[in-house]
């Protein structure tokens, strides 16, 4: 019982990192980054491949973030001029490209075979193989990520991000290089998605390309939008609710064959209702533009 909750909380922790970092780019910077799953995937693969080649977890974990961040930089350069739905489509296309590469670059990723047997993390001899230890690790990372993002958005830099979101041209006319600002935001967001991917890989111990298909963005996007843009509190509450909400379905006595579709329907309906009747989400400051 408790152990199952621990598992759920670990999932919440990983989703929190993903959703909060997506919030940074969508809610605070106004970048319609729908390619978050690509960075998550890159982070998971980097970390898995590193540790499978006997590189210590800490190094793999940080490299996962850094390499995902580098891809964020790479993506930010050509997409810098794109806005709104075009940016959304370009980042979706980026997810496809990463997905197809991970499926086809068999010599590196083993393609559809996936990477099994990813070791549980251990830092300086301290093993995180039990779920409770892993929970502590995820919690620490999630809390650090929370304070990191808080720090960013409360600093003057965060205000520049918000200014860019509200009115990019006016920000530029005030002398701010929004190109750089948007890149930094995307890189940080990608970095955090990368470390979330690393945690995922080491928790599940098996990754394959299908875990990172484009549609996986939907629940994370739901968390960000339902919680409300530019509100970390909203994101956190929405993440907790959305991870836990479908769980009772498993227990209430629904036939298990409709639990999956029911969960999807619940997500989709909540998303639609929020968009229609409460466009700022629970705690949002701004509307999606």
């Amino acid at each position: 019982m408790e152990a199952y909750f621990i598992h759920l909380i670990i999932l919440i922790g990983i989703y929190l990192i993903l959703a909060m970092s997506l919030q940074l780019s969508i809610g605070y910077t106004g970048l319609m980054n729908f390619g978050h799953i690509a960075f998550y995937s890159i982070g998971a693969y980097v970390s898995a491949l590193f540790t499978l080649n006997d590189i210590p977890f800490v190094v793999a974990f940080i490299s996962a973030g850094i390499i995902a961040g580098l891809f964020g930089l790479l993506l930010s350069i050509p997409t810098n001029k794109l806005k709104g739905d075009y940016l959304a489509l370009a980042t979706i296309a980026f997810t496809f490209v990463v997905y197809v590469v991970s499926l086809n670059w068999v010599s590196l990723t083993r393609g559809p075979l996936g990477l099994p047997g990813i070791p549980k993390p251990s830092i300086l001899g301290l093993s995180f193989s039990s779920n409770i230890m892993f929970l502590i690790l995820v919690a620490i990372v999630a809390i650090v990520v929370y304070f990191f993002i808080r720090r960013i958005i409360d600093s003057p830099f965060g205000k520049v991000l918000e200014a860019t979101r509200d009115n990019e041209l006016a920000t530029r006319v005030l002398g701010k290089n929004t190109f750089k600002i948007k890149s930094v935001s995307l890189v940080i967001s990608a970095f955090l998605a990368g470390i979330a991917g690393s945690l995922y890989a080491h928790y599940i111990t098996y990754i394959d390309p299908s875990s990172f298909s484009m549609m996986q963005i939907a629940p994370i996007l739901c968390m960000v939008i339902i919680g409300g843009l530019a509100s970390l509190k909203g994101t956190i509450i929405a993440t907790i609710i959305l991870v836990l909400l479908p769980e009772p379905l498993r227990f209430i006595g629904f036939s298990s064959s409709i639990v999956g579709p029911m969960r999807q329907i619940i997500y989709a309906l909540i998303l639609l209702v929020i968009l229609l009747y409460k466009p700022k989400g629970f705690f949002g400051k701004v509307e999606l533009e």
Partner: protein, 378 residues
């Protein structure tokens, strides 16, 4: 106004959390000694669910029979992995171990998810018996991982040998590169065929979402093969591939090293063009009374002529697990240990299910052919 709104939200959140907690608590049933609890990792939704529909049916039939024959109640926890999603598998294994406290698990449909479940099974000391997984590396997955299905390695080699012995020398390979079993099977079959002295004239691939294979097939046609070694996992793709082969006039023998073609829908939907296809099934169980009974019973309940694949393997898995539980002192280690013992005496309906030290079974490989809308022993 604003304050009121806030209160609504807080109340809403509290209610949701209460429902969640309540639903967990109400589900916490006391376990009694006569009840054997079985977790089933099924794949009930998603693109592959029709493939795996035999698993829950086999489990159900086993439950009926066991409760009739032995003085024991089975409690089945059937759960959905949703298209072999590893994250769901982890959730479900955690639920089985910690909440349902099951005695053993039947399932792990895709080989990937069985591998995901393996470390949890070994750590939580929960035996898991997969009626589906066939990739070779399950063998080394750990002491608590068993399977009633055979490993791919033998049947792919046998299929290649069959192709060679039928006089074919030019093989074309078409494989689904998004399915782990198919990639390893195709390379295994290819290697064996070349060892025997045959030539692999083309090697093409596809992915699970593809629905148009005309160019792959044109490429294959150009290489003038005399046999097609087809490694795909979706019955729907078999029907399109065979249909498009017919349309393109590519009229060669198809050999599939796996069991996917044993699918009733193929007979209904694609009867004309799958004719002649050769595939393998594991096991060579004698047609015992029990098996005849099962077949009749299946026809009665599900209104289908042939029992779908994995049904009998799932049936055997439930039997083996339950017998092992009854024989053990109900600790997890002893269930695992007695699994080896009971498998020696138990007569499987899916063939010889005696576990070796790795938890694998060794059944003979049998070839079948689709002929005139029927699955016929080849």
């Amino acid at each position: 106004m604003k304050k009121q709104n806030k209160i609504y939200w807080i109340v809403g959140v509290v209610v949701v959390i209460l429902i969640i907690i309540l639903s967990f608590i109400t589900n916490r049933k006391e376990s009694s000694s006569e009840v054997v609890k079985i977790g089933v990792l099924g794949d009930l939704t998603g693109d592959l669910s029709s493939l795996f529909r035999g698993v829950p049916r086999g489990v159900d039939m086993a439950k009926l029979d066991i409760e009739k024959e032995k003085d024991v109640k089975l409690q089945i926890f059937l759960e959905d992995q949703e298209s072999c999603n590893p994250q769901n598998t982890i959730s479900l294994m955690n639920k089985f171990i910690n909440i349902d406290k099951v005695d053993f698990v039947v399932g792990g449909s895709c080989s990937g998810t069985t591998l995901v479940a393996a470390p949890l099974a070994n750590e939580g000391k929960l035996p898991i018996i997969s009626p589906v997984s066939s990739v070779p590396n399950i063998t080394e997955a750990g002491g608590y991982v068993f399977r009633t299905y055979i490993s791919d390695s033998e049947r792919t080699e046998k299929s290649a040998e069959l192709a060679y012995s039928l006089g074919f020398r030019r093989m074309a390979v078409l494989k689904d590169i998004s399915a782990e079993t198919e990639v390893s099977s195709s390379s295994g079959g290819r290697k064996r065929f070349e060892e025997l002295g045959g030539v692999v004239v083309s090697d093409e691939s596809l992915t699970i979402n593809d629905k148009d294979f005309k160019t792959q097939l044109s490429k294959i046609k150009l290489s003038k093969p005399d046999v097609l070694f087809l490694c795909v996992i979706s019955p729907g793709q078999i029907s399109i591939i065979t249909k498009q082969m017919k349309e393109l006039g590519l009229d060669i023998q198809i050999i599939m090293p796996n069991e996917i073609a044993q699918n009733n829908e193929l007979l209904v939907e694609a009867k004309e063009y799958v004719d002649g296809l050769i595939y393998t099934l594991p096991g060579d169980a004698p047609l015992s009374d029990k098996l005849i009974q099962l077949k009749d019973y299946y026809k009665l309940i599900y209104n289908e002529e042939a029992i779908p694949i994995y049904t009998l393997e799932a049936y055997d898995a439930v039997w083996l697990g339950t017998l092992a539980v009854l024989k053990s002192d109900r600790t997890k280690e002893s269930i695992k240990d007695s699994l080896y013992q009971v498998s020696q005496d138990y007569k499987g309906v899916s063939g010889d299910v005696e576990f070796d030290e790795n938890g694998d079974v060794h059944k003979s490989v049998v070839f079948y052919q689709i002929k005139d809308g029927k699955f016929i022993r080849y």
